[in-house]
Symmetry: C2
Subunit: 332 residues, 2 copies
């Protein structure tokens, strides 16, 4: 007899569970070896506390009233709860502060689009370390985590979350049109993006072309050269920020996996500056993401820059299995 579970949730049976536990341990060991202490926070928080961090993004959260009439919500990520934790427990701590986690989060998504309602993430938060140094440290930890998982081919996309927001402001695109364009960018919908752009009044063909061309710029240092020839102060500022991060990564010898991706835009509201997306080219899956959230801590009363990343544990596991079977098929 089959008693269903909600779409976007899953059961894990012992064989997979053993592998997930092994992966968990490997990731936490990487984080701890680099000084990141693991924390846990409640899956249930006051809705107003989560909303303080997420802004409109909490519209995607599950909410319910408790027996005292308070509105609670299931957390939709760990970055906001950790910002809350830092303000309550580490306000006087020496910075930078390094924390990591392995935890389930919940999003009220449309499961028919293959999204998970419940998902486990492993990640780190580095609080009190500004760009570009803090960004570089986070990328180094991320690379070590991918190495520990055996994902030799995973790519880290490096973009800038302010690029399009500022560019659209510069081009005078506001309101709904702006939101629609940003949504198309976040979902990598190039056809939709061109369409939205063409419908905006007052935007020139060249401006339109800049937006489309930028969204397709992806690669190494040469991408920054190409971008510099394009319109707009926003492009120049983002390029300078990316250049500084890329130079520092190169200096540390950890640039190999990193691909500059000017088309990158994440839909979480709290990012500013550098953003990251981890991508497995073999599977075509996004394995995780992250970036800087220099403004988020302020919403909790702590004026500190911050950055972090989160890997989707189950997707990393699938990629790991795929890599292992690939290596078995083609022994060196």
């Amino acid at each position: 007899m089959i008693h269903p579970i909600p779409p976007g949730t899953r059961d894990v049976l012992p064989d997979e569970m053993r592998e997930l536990r092994r992966l968990n341990r490997a990731l936490i060991e990487v984080f701890e070896a680099r000084g990141y202490g693991e924390v846990a926070t409640p899956a249930i928080e006051y809705d107003e506390v989560l909303a303080r961090g997420d802004g409109p993004a909490t519209a995607g959260a599950y909410r319910f009233f408790d027996e005292s009439g308070d509105l609670l919500a299931l957390r939709s990520d760990m970055t906001v709860p950790i910002a809350r934790l830092v303000s309550s427990r580490y306000a006087e701590a020496e910075m930078p502060l390094r924390l990591c986690y392995l935890a389930s989060s919940y999003r009220a998504v449309r499961p028919q689009r293959g999204q998970m309602r419940e998902f486990v993430q492993a990640g780190v938060e580095l609080i009190g370390a500004p760009a570009p140094g803090g960004t570089v440290e986070v990328i180094e930890v991320l690379e070590a985590a991918l190495d520990a998982a055996g994902l030799d081919r995973a790519v880290i996309g490096l973009g800038d979350s302010d690029l399009y927001r500022q560019l659209l402001t510069e081009f005078g695109v506001e309101g709904e049109a702006r939101d629609s364009i940003l949504a198309r960018l976040a979902s990598h919908d190039l056809v939709g993006l061109e369409q939205e752009l063409r419908e905006v009044e007052g935007i020139s063909d060249e401006q339109c072309a800049t937006c489309v061309a930028l969204s397709q710029l992806r690669g190494g240092r040469e991408v920054l050269e190409q971008a510099r020839s394009m319109l707009g102060g926003a492009v120049a500022r983002a390029t300078a920020r990316l250049q500084a991060t890329y130079d520092a990564l190169e200096e540390r010898g950890v640039v190999d996996r990193v691909q500059i991706d000017l088309g990158l835009l994440l839909d979480l509201g709290y990012y500013s500056g550098a953003i990251l997306e981890v991508y497995d080219p073999a599977l075509g899956h996004i394995l995780g993401g992250g970036g800087r959230y220099d403004e988020l801590m302020k919403r909790f009363g702590i004026d500190q820059p911050a950055a972090g990343f989160a890997l989707y544990l189950e997707r990393v596991h699938v990629a790991q299995m795929e890599e292992e079977s690939r290596r078995e098929r083609a022994p060196s």
Copy 2:
């Protein structure tokens, strides 16, 4: 700045987290070494699926509607989700089936009474092994888990969940009076119990005295002798069941930690026959519980006897710390 978290939930900082991880690993290793495979299930399930297992006890669950209008609930334990999992994924499996878990559950409790809304449990479920053999196996695993946690002094109370239900039926106590009496027993409220009993019409003084006296019988084999002299077929039947389990435990040489407790009654609706409560005499804390739930699997279409236990991870950790500092204070 303090941004509160809901009462009955907590943050865990790195020092404690490292210890909890170590305890987690030790417990899962004990379970796996005895053939129990770890599983995970969603924290969110359809309310009607959880209600099928719990009966009225799901009144304590957090519920909310999803975007399709379905009523979802946060699980309030792992036994019901695992019964659901077994019916969906292991209906044709060879029995007995041994599963274990380490998972958070949620109850809409009154936190001012010190109860947790969110709590982590480590436990096992043994499906397809009848009493007394299955009960004895579960108690052996529980003892090994307590040993692994270093809780030398923890006591396992062994009672019978049918004893009072059947005895009250025999005495003609029905409806609200019956529920109130069972609630007083479950909360170990002796004064309230006597009061409730005295208010029942038609119950004799001797019957009343039997109920009170039974609820205080606690100890070794002698307790069964004492009980046998008491009124009621229900007492005779429960005593015979307890005797069989106790004899088997003695034969396996694992009876030392076990204390027969005729006053034991757990408030989860699905128990039948043997019930367990783990108690730390030093701390005065209940560390966990369990028992047989021979009827639960039928509600999910599987006619198999079953038993299991769950330990509250954080309370076990507190007891573990207490034991360690006790050993340090009094070195042998």
